[in-house]
Symmetry: C2
Amino acid sequence: MSAHTETLEKSTAATGIKRTYFFGNKQAEGNASMKNLLGGKGANLAEMTQLGIPVPPGFTITTEVCIEYYQNSKQLPTGLLEDIRRNVARVEAIVGAKFGNADNPLLFSVRSGARVSMPGMMDTILNLGLNDQAVEGLAKRSQNPRFAYDAYRRFIQMFSDVVKGVDHDKFEHILDEQKKKKGVSQDTQLDAQDLKEVIRRYKELYRNALGVDFPQDTETQLLDAICAVFGSWECDRAIKYRRIHEIPESWGTAVNVQAMVFGNLGDTSGTGVAFTRNPSTGEKKFYGEYLINAQGEDVVAGIRTPEPISDLEKDMPEAYAELVSVYERLERHYKDMQDIEFTIQDKKLYMLQTRNGKRTAEAALRIAVELVQEGMIDEKTAVSRVEANALDQLLHPRIDPKAKLQVIAKGLAASPGAAVGRVVFTADEAEAWVKKGEKVVLVRQETSPEDIGGMHVSEGILTARGGMTSHAAVVARGMGTPCVAGCGDVVIDYSKKLFSAKGETIREGEWITLNGSTGELIKGETQLIEAKLSGNFDIFMQWADKFRTLKVRTNADTPEDAQRAREFGAEGIGLCRTEHMFFDPQRIMHMREMILSDSETARRKALDKLLPYQQADFEGIFKAMTGLPVTIRLLDPPLHEFLPQTQEQIRILAQEMGVSVHHLNQKVESLHELNPMLGHRGCRLAITFPEIYEMQVRAIIRAAITIKKQGQDIIPEIMIPLVCSRKEYQIVEANLRRVAEEELVSAKVSIQYQVGTMIEIPRAALVADKIAEHAEFFSFGTNDLTQMTFGFSRDDVAKFLGDYVEQQILEKDPFQSIDQRGVAQLVQMGVERGRSTKPDLKCGVCGEHGGDPASIDFFHRAGLNYVSCSPFRVPIARLASAQAALRNK
Amino acid sequence: MSAHTETLEKSTAATGIKRTYFFGNKQAEGNASMKNLLGGKGANLAEMTQLGIPVPPGFTITTEVCIEYYQNSKQLPTGLLEDIRRNVARVEAIVGAKFGNADNPLLFSVRSGARVSMPGMMDTILNLGLNDQAVEGLAKRSQNPRFAYDAYRRFIQMFSDVVKGVDHDKFEHILDEQKKKKGVSQDTQLDAQDLKEVIRRYKELYRNALGVDFPQDTETQLLDAICAVFGSWECDRAIKYRRIHEIPESWGTAVNVQAMVFGNLGDTSGTGVAFTRNPSTGEKKFYGEYLINAQGEDVVAGIRTPEPISDLEKDMPEAYAELVSVYERLERHYKDMQDIEFTIQDKKLYMLQTRNGKRTAEAALRIAVELVQEGMIDEKTAVSRVEANALDQLLHPRIDPKAKLQVIAKGLAASPGAAVGRVVFTADEAEAWVKKGEKVVLVRQETSPEDIGGMHVSEGILTARGGMTSHAAVVARGMGTPCVAGCGDVVIDYSKKLFSAKGETIREGEWITLNGSTGELIKGETQLIEAKLSGNFDIFMQWADKFRTLKVRTNADTPEDAQRAREFGAEGIGLCRTEHMFFDPQRIMHMREMILSDSETARRKALDKLLPYQQADFEGIFKAMTGLPVTIRLLDPPLHEFLPQTQEQIRILAQEMGVSVHHLNQKVESLHELNPMLGHRGCRLAITFPEIYEMQVRAIIRAAITIKKQGQDIIPEIMIPLVCSRKEYQIVEANLRRVAEEELVSAKVSIQYQVGTMIEIPRAALVADKIAEHAEFFSFGTNDLTQMTFGFSRDDVAKFLGDYVEQQILEKDPFQSIDQRGVAQLVQMGVERGRSTKPDLKCGVCGEHGGDPASIDFFHRAGLNYVSCSPFRVPIARLASAQAALRNK
């Protein structure tokens, strides 16, 4: 012993690093706050031990050792072996058994444990410490030879598979053969003798596969198992899981080596998992299941059906009473709903794990609110406990988790919620079918502004092309309609009215289901669960609103959207896109006439016809947003987006305009651009054709006058898009103010309005100090800013974005969550330089990022005044803003 | 006098500003160094006065007063009148005449004078100080009534037109009527009596036009004239001139008020202009012309034909001798060729102006070199004297300045020099015609890489679309072929083989001339002057090379271009575009096969066929650049640029590849992008299809090995385009190095090569510190950087760029000269951040800006190591780099 201790002290002294943390017998070297070093499981085992809760003794090898292991070409560091031996000895002393001893063997479990739970992603080895001698000792001591040989059989199988990579199925095959030979169907029907034969064949298999005998030296077993657990940090499924859950590779995993306890020692033993409250609903009721005479993996494997936890009370009343007392203590101690694992060995309860339990959004909300009401946590803590993005679940219908699904393809989760309907392939068909009382899902290559009507009546939208900020995705999110976009496996044949995806063919009229929260395309009609908001939602959101400093506005182009967003708590409109207003069939003709006219006079004539429509649009939106600011962006897209698509449309328009079809075709051709995103659009149109914005401003101010005369307050903010220079802004702004003043003077009404700009071109951020000499507010258009800063066309990026995320060049799709290393620098620069000129400059964001929690955290830190997002993301933005404020205090 | 002085002192004391500078009688308050304050003319008048050269006395009102005038709603500042009166009195004292005096009137000229010469752009008033009384006095004193009345007549006409805006033609009409009445044709044939009648009618016209009498108060005349000169700073032609010559509006003009001297007092008087050396050739010989009995404007007006200056020697030997002595003194004093104006009044010489004379590039070079040889200036001064851009004149043929031109349209001056040839409309026709021995000009809507062959054989290229960095423009500049691009007035009808421009129709085979230095499209065959480089060129360029710190490389894709650039002094290749190599008919098929293959195996098969071609290309280029660095950019454009354009081409390719036409069409369609500039190109291709760059690197390294084995040095630099992140660079680089090492190991050859990156995406500049962790050099791709920083597509920007320059939103086309306020910030940031990681990081630029002197000045200041430009701009870049180094010392 003393020699070991000396070695340990030497090694610790030499490296200055403590690599192992012991726990057992109410004492532990670690505690719950040491998750980064000990992993979640190890930290909580130490904490429970210190609380006096019964935990089998053991020790945790730190995550730092994992990092050392990888840095050191997958070798355990020098000195660790001495640490391990010392800890094993302490466990032996507590348990009263000896590791590797033939008569009274101490067995270990070896488990992974990262900072955050990665359920089932990494490896576990149970029953370690058995060999041909020890199994005999265990059989004698337990007086249960079947148990002992089953434990050895399990250990050989697990060790060979997990540690040595021998195919698991080959062992199952041997077991199956043995059952067949005996004419039984259950593992439990094999007796000790059968299992001895199985063990013989297992060892034979091991030798044949690896050319050496199964290791009889238990220390070798232990060191190999530890290496295997470290190695499983880099297994494919763990890497994928980390990517999905954004867990850094650099964290590493800890390893927990813990004395085995056995739930499979007979009918006075058992094992189970439980939640201190219901993880689906949040109801305050002990919830879980257990199996008598079983080891942990039997519960997970699903071979036997577990019993509800309440039945344990009559099976083993004392153990149950202790379990209840322990879970209540743990919840009070951790002040959150716990997910616990336990084993009962011969009526004695042992706790193997406790952690904060995963839960649905509904449960998260209820638990957070009730914990506050129970006095366990304060409101700030409650607000931090619910993941902002999870609120989406509450606002949209979702697929019944029990439904059997035939997923036939996967696209981008472009607009959340689930939709069921019959397939149609055109927006017109969608409208026609819905008139007949059908529910439809609109399936398109990609959508265009002309499809708005059909999109509006559809239950869901599926596109084969386009990214998270494609037309379909943006519009669908605005409407709250589920959408799967950019589903590349879908090949549409419009002429045959069908699409195929990975071998399945779906025709018009057939039922499909979309899961817009996951991107799944599902064949057939699926049962949905409708969204409902509980009273807890309002209480919770009020708490969130107390803590946030960012205002939350919405992107809305219609009075309906504006109204819905207001109900969700929007504090104004941050982006009202005016271009969507021009696609109505009555209006598009005038719009086209305007675009295709050769003279200013002719353009003004066409614009005069559009003005009353625009004015009516704005009146509706102002009414819906009475008392709140409404930011209206002037015309932004390139003009050719409005142009006729077919020769028939051109023919009609030519007639209307009194020009030749040839002339019109030439004009259409001349408006073609190679890179329209970087083309003649936004305020560039106002430099060449000032009359367009003039009409729009006239409509805005006239609408404001009308509403004001009706006695309502309105705060119009006129926003100039795509500005790249001070002078450009100044020229456009001066013209707009001139028109606005004309209208106000002639109406003899005084209205406060502001004129400001989008910052969406990199250069605008670079010269923001100059632009701020004139602009009254900045709104960061992070969609376009991302496009230009990366040089990514969001319409085309789908072709390589997958590879970029896969190869970890991009952590996330930068159109979904703002690129905090690059694009964010320009936002920060824009804010700082703008305010260097105008210290109280109002700054907001109106890109898609305005509804993304990670982006909102950045916007809070960047000192923006508000974020603006689609109506259905307003609650998420409110919560994310509150969390950002609390996090960055 | 003393009262005036007191007033002056008071006003100067009150404002602290000295507004007027006197000169006369060998004394002057100003000097030649005060051009910013006194304007060029005023400063030089003061200087000449101090030198004791005969200059009529007068005073200069400063440019600051001009600025005050505009800030003060076009009112002269308080106190100025007193200053003027004091100065007038000093002139009176010297001349011995009185301003406004009836018997012995002092007359003034009032002239503009900005910091830099703006010839003819602003206003002048002569003979000021005459009225109905003074004219009589002048007549008596001069004993020349005809002279006096003519002076008065001229004054009324000039004052009315320039100061009061009465139409000049109406006065001419009166003069014509008087001549008709008398039956004469020349103004000089009118006698005093006739002129009195003309004056009567002039005054009548004035009264009718303005409702008041012609001002008889001479101080009113003077103040009005001063205001008119200030006012002319903002006249349309002056604004346009400033825009063209990049003269800031804020400079303002000075006003020179100077005692009149008269060249029109009879045959012992005269006036002339001269250059101290020949401004066309630079020959050291006095050069100019004069008129006997004339005022300055008569020389300019061109009514009489002036005599060569040498004839003055026999007409007026004493005056001529003095003039020679003066001009020699002036040249020695100013140490530069002078452009002088003089008047001889009654045999007495007066100098009215001296300034550095404008000259052709040829003359500039010769004068600079000869002044050094004469010991007048040092080499540094010589290098600063020649405008870098002017060298272009020496390298390209130009249109004979004497030729009569019928300009039928104007486009962008996309590639300098003049070209004459017969019109063809396709690249194939161009090649066919040239084979037949014809000279052709290729006329295209826009060119594409497939047109390379035809472009190469054409004398010049004309396109209807596209900007300064369009394909046609870039390729033409590289080849040194004159090009007029984006000539919007040209409407091409390919089917009829003709184009029209502003009413003119030109058919295939007709002759046209292009002036690629001005953008003019000229009908017919025009006489050209061939380019020739004198020995002075080499001497001069060697001086320039002594002072520059920037290296100058070239953009070259062929051994021929590389060779030419080397002859022009290029110190390596900064950009070798590999994509141009794929358009050869033998190669394009393999390229297409590669792009349209569905599997990596098939792509690799096609790439294997391309490898030998690429290797041969690189071998040729390496040979041409032995001993110098060659930066090769890996494939950059989107793949669909290489795709078949016609169904016929698709059919052939489908056969070749053994796939169906339908399949191939689908594949082509799937590669379509909405914004290809922001699409799947550059190193993004290497992330999805690493095999493409692998082939290219293999070809580069194999070529390097071949050349090395031939005993020649080569320094290959492999450049990865379109990088936006550290990780992206790292992945691509690692793969390239792996392939390169494979080749080197297998060849058992050691070659030093570098791997670096373009910085051409805004994000790359923002994260340059991270990218520099791996990259060995940066090359700023300022073309794409400008596109993305502004959000301007260079292919589409022509639609609104004109308006942007017109409205002064942009000072210049940012694709021609780097945007120093915006884009330059990113370049600066990229350099600084890159070097913060790697202090000796080599940084260069390879965009079009690498050949633009203003941009080069910035690149020098930004600390770049080199610029790279098209071969014909290499001398310009060498000179501009030297000037930047001298300027920013």
